[in-house]
């Protein structure tokens, strides 16, 4: 990266530090006075924020970003309203995190608390996918899909619709108490707050039945916690998306620091092709393009940048790789009649060869292969676990105090707490028996006199029961040591499901 910066650094800093002079960059193209706010070299530890006024960009990538924004926001706001039929006993919300009954519903999937490893697996997959995308195409997550980017983009769009583009916004800030400034800014902030409230509102719908909760929210009958969380998310959305914006990416987020270790010479990064652009400078009417670079130093790439950097300094921490500078530059290149792509997705390898090697996407690289393999392995493990997921589970806890009870006839009794998990969507009947302990008698508390006790477990629920296993004097005599291993076997009354769990039978030391 260092040598990449070297070609542009001097020229860029020169013009930046000269106070960004006015003038024409090319016939009919004004030179922007947008300052390089971040990434312009060493900065002091204590620095007041310099406000960034991103200019509107138009072009392919801007369109892609609008589409991605529409899709991601639609998913976030609308998914809680999707319905999914699960029969009469279970909620019909497609995605629901049900804390009171401790279930996570995701379309066809229902996860119990002890199956949280599925969520862990999903997070591992998400992290690996992030690594993979980063090593292929840099910070595409940051640039297109990160909530901070999406909401900031939305907030800037709102700001622009009330206050106008870059120049108008700067003009308004010069007269902070003018009536026009006040109403335009007031309307902006009110709209931001409404968006923020909607964001917080959508969040709580993931944790309760959305139609019911929305009615309760409107009638002020919802639980206090719902209002508290709407409040928290309203505040964070308003502050992070509306006010703090690029500060979050530059100072708060750890990802910019991590991703530097994930890209390599073959990663596609948004880059200024210095070999084509330099030496830069204003282009006068009729001047030949021979012996000079294509960059007319119009600073449009700086003006549109939402984090206020100059991409011509090369790849840098502050760059979220949103690709808006590509759009801005392509527009200018079209106007001055030079080929587009002076700023483009490019690899360090191709940049260093000054474009001679051409841009070839090399996907067979160790890190790409390793991340892909890891995704495949984790995905396969999760899929297998999901397919083999049982509908019936049994857990057995041997009494610890006392470990065993001696009976009047010299027999020995052990107590157990058995938990039956019925994961099916209908109530089921079960029978409990033991295997591997000759002469054992099982009694279920509450059904001591039943010769064939049947335990009914409600749909999608857990039933805890107490059971005693007794060996009389002749049956416990041949037990080899203080404890013997055996199995509890639970069978559904219809015989369709069976599960077993190992436990021990304890007796006095022999």
């Amino acid at each position: 990266m260092q040598n990449l910066q070297s070609y542009s650094r001097d020229a860029a800093l020169d013009s930046a530090e000269a106070g960004a002079p006015q003038g024409e960059a090319a016939p009919g193209i004004a030179r922007s006075d947008a300052p390089t706010v971040h990434g312009g070299g060493e900065t002091p530890l204590y620095a007041a924020r310099v406000k960034v006024y991103p200019k509107r960009a138009r072009g392919t990538f801007r369109t892609v970003k609008w589409i991605v924004m529409a899709i991601t926001l639609s998913i976030y706001y609308l998914v809680p309203w999707l319905r999914w039929d699960r029969g009469p006993y279970l909620p019909d919300q497609a995605v629901l995190i049900d804390f009171p009954s401790r279930r996570f519903y995701f379309f066809f999937l229902e996860i119990w608390p002890q199956e949280f490893y599925f969520i862990t697996g999903l997070l591992v997959l998400a992290a690996l996918a992030l690594f993979l995308f980063t090593s292929i195409a840099g910070r595409v997550w940051c640039g297109y899909a990160c909530p901070q980017t999406v909401w900031t983009d939305l907030m800037i769009a709102v700001e622009r619709s009330f206050q106008g583009d870059r120049n108008q916004r700067m003009r308004l800030d010069k007269t902070p108490w003018a009536f026009e400034t006040l109403w335009r800014k007031g309307a902006t902030h009110v709209t931001w707050l409404l968006i923020a409230i909607a964001t917080g509102g959508a969040w709580v719908f993931y944790f309760a039945d959305a139609p019911t909760l929305s009615r309760q929210l409107v009638n002020f009958e919802a639980p206090m916690l719902a209002y508290v969380f709407i409040g928290i998310f309203t505040t964070t959305t308003y502050l992070l998306g509306g006010i703090a914006r690029e500060q979050v990416c530059i100072y708060m987020c750890p990802w910019p620091r991590i991703q530097g270790g994930m890209v390599d010479r073959d990663s596609l990064l948004i880059s200024y092709r210095g070999w084509r652009g330099e030496p830069r400078g204003p282009h006068k009417a009729g001047q030949s393009w021979e012996g000079r670079g294509d960059c007319v130093d119009c600073r449009q790439c700086v003006a549109v940048c939402p984090t206020g950097i100059d991409i011509r300094h090369g790849s840098q921490l502050e760059c979220i790789q949103c690709a808006l500078c590509i759009d801005a530059c392509n527009e200018i290149m079209d106007k001055v009649g030079r080929p587009t792509g002076l700023i483009a997705y490019d690899t360090v390898r191709s940049l260093e060869s000054a474009g001679k090697e051409g841009l070839s996407l090399n996907l067979v690289r160790p890190r790409v292969v390793l991340y892909s393999a890891a995704i495949a392995v984790v995905g396969a493990i999760m899929l297998t676990a999901l397919i083999l997921r049982p509908e019936l589970e049994i857990n057995v806890l041997h009494d610890r105090n006392p470990l065993y009870v001696k009976l009047s006839d010299g027999g020995i009794r052990n107590g157990y707490t058995i938990k039956l998990l019925n994961k099916s969507s209908a109530p089921r009947d079960f029978r409990v028996a033991v295997k591997g302990l000759p002469g054992a008698e099982v009694t279920v508390v509450g059904q001591e006199k039943e010769p064939d006790p049947v335990i009914t477990v409600p749909a999608d629920d857990l039933q805890s029961l107490r059971a005693y296993v007794t060996l009389d004097k002749t049956a416990n005599a041949p037990l080899p040591a203080a404890d013997a291993a055996f199995f509890f076997v639970v069978t559904s009354a219809d015989g369709a499901a069976e599960a077993e769990h190992e436990s021990t039978f304890q007796g006095p030391e022999r």
Binding site: E42, T43, P44, Y46, D399, R400, N401, P402, V405, K406, L407, S408, D409, G410, R413, G415, V445, G446, E448, T456, S464, R466, Y468
Partner: protein
């Protein structure tokens, strides 16, 4: 003294200098400073609203009148209200009905376990396994009764307790009162041991059988199987309330035994006693 403003690498100073050593100015981050001011404002509000300052004999109560004691009382009340549905059902049902209803049974077992830990565990042990002189409630041997109603009766009125309805009986002190001389006590002890196959001296045991028939069968029965009506233990089984070694048996015959179980009817509400009865019955030995 020159105040220097920060340029890159040149830190701001306060202008203080001693022997060439300068005091640097390292201000707190603004957000930190503002949070600090906010906590000061918060604390003033807290002093006014909440109990905060100790006075000589009291403390400032605060405008909100908050008190942790009142809060605990409220929470206990809320917990009672939450359990009211089941408690009412338990109050209205008899023990057999509770035992037969899986839902009520689970509720009673949970409540009984908690009440047992609070009230019964000191003597009977946390696992109800008993101790020397305190019966094991998990086995199938009962002094008085192992039925649901019998257990409830014992919990309510105790054994040899200060209660008109208490269960009462006495194992006489045969040795202390001179009813039996030490040699005969030894013989009876051998006989009692022989009932569960533990006698060491067969002749003494045979002599003891006659003494047992004269003195002990009234309560313990001709087969030494005990009697629930009198709380007389079964001496022929393998379980011992006091230890089953000969010295302890001799001591029991010599000095008598009169274990005490307190009365609970005035200390626990009827629903709790019902839950406890169900719980003890479900420990494994219930009849």
């Amino acid at each position: 003294m020159v105040r220097r403003r920060d340029t890159v690498g040149e830190p701001e100073t306060t202008g203080h200098e001693w022997d060439g050593i300068q005091e640097l100015n390292k201000p707190l981050p603004k957000w930190w400073l503002y949070v600090f001011y906010a906590t000061i404002v918060w604390s003033i509000g807290y002093w006014l609203l909440m109990p905060s300052w100790p006075l000589l004999s009291s403390y400032t109560k605060g405008w909100l009148g908050y008190s942790q004691r009142a809060r605990v009382a409220d929470q206990l009340e809320a917990s009672r209200a939450a359990k009211a549905e089941y408690r009412d059902k338990i109050a209205a049902s008899d023990l057999a009905a509770i035992n037969a209803d899986p839902e009520l049974l689970r509720f009673a077992l949970a409540g009984g376990e908690a009440a047992f830990g609070d009230n019964c565990a000191p003597c009977h042990g946390r696992g109800a396994q008993g101790a020397f002189g305190y019966p094991n409630l998990r086995d199938d041997s009962w002094l008085w009764s192992g039925t649901l109603d019998g257990i409830q009766q014992t919990i309510m009125h105790g054994i040899r307790a200060d209660d008109p309805k208490t269960r009462t009986s006495a194992m006489p002190a045969f040795g202390k009162t001179g009813l039996l001389p030490p040699a005969q006590i030894n013989d009876v002890a051998e006989y009692v041991l022989s009932l569960s196959g533990g006698a060491q001296d067969q002749q003494a045991a045979e002599r003891g059988a006659a003494i047992f028939a004269k003195n002990c069968v009234v309560c313990h029965g001709p087969q030494a199987k005990g009697d629930h009506k009198l709380g007389a233990p079964d001496l022929a089984d393998e379980l011992w309330l006091y230890s089953g070694d000969k010295a302890t048996i001799v001591a029991t015959i010599h000095g008598g035994r009169s274990g005490l179980m307190p009365t609970w009817v005035n200390r626990l509400d009827p629903e709790t006693i019902k839950e406890l009865s169900i719980y003890v019955h479900a420990l494994g030995g219930g009849e």
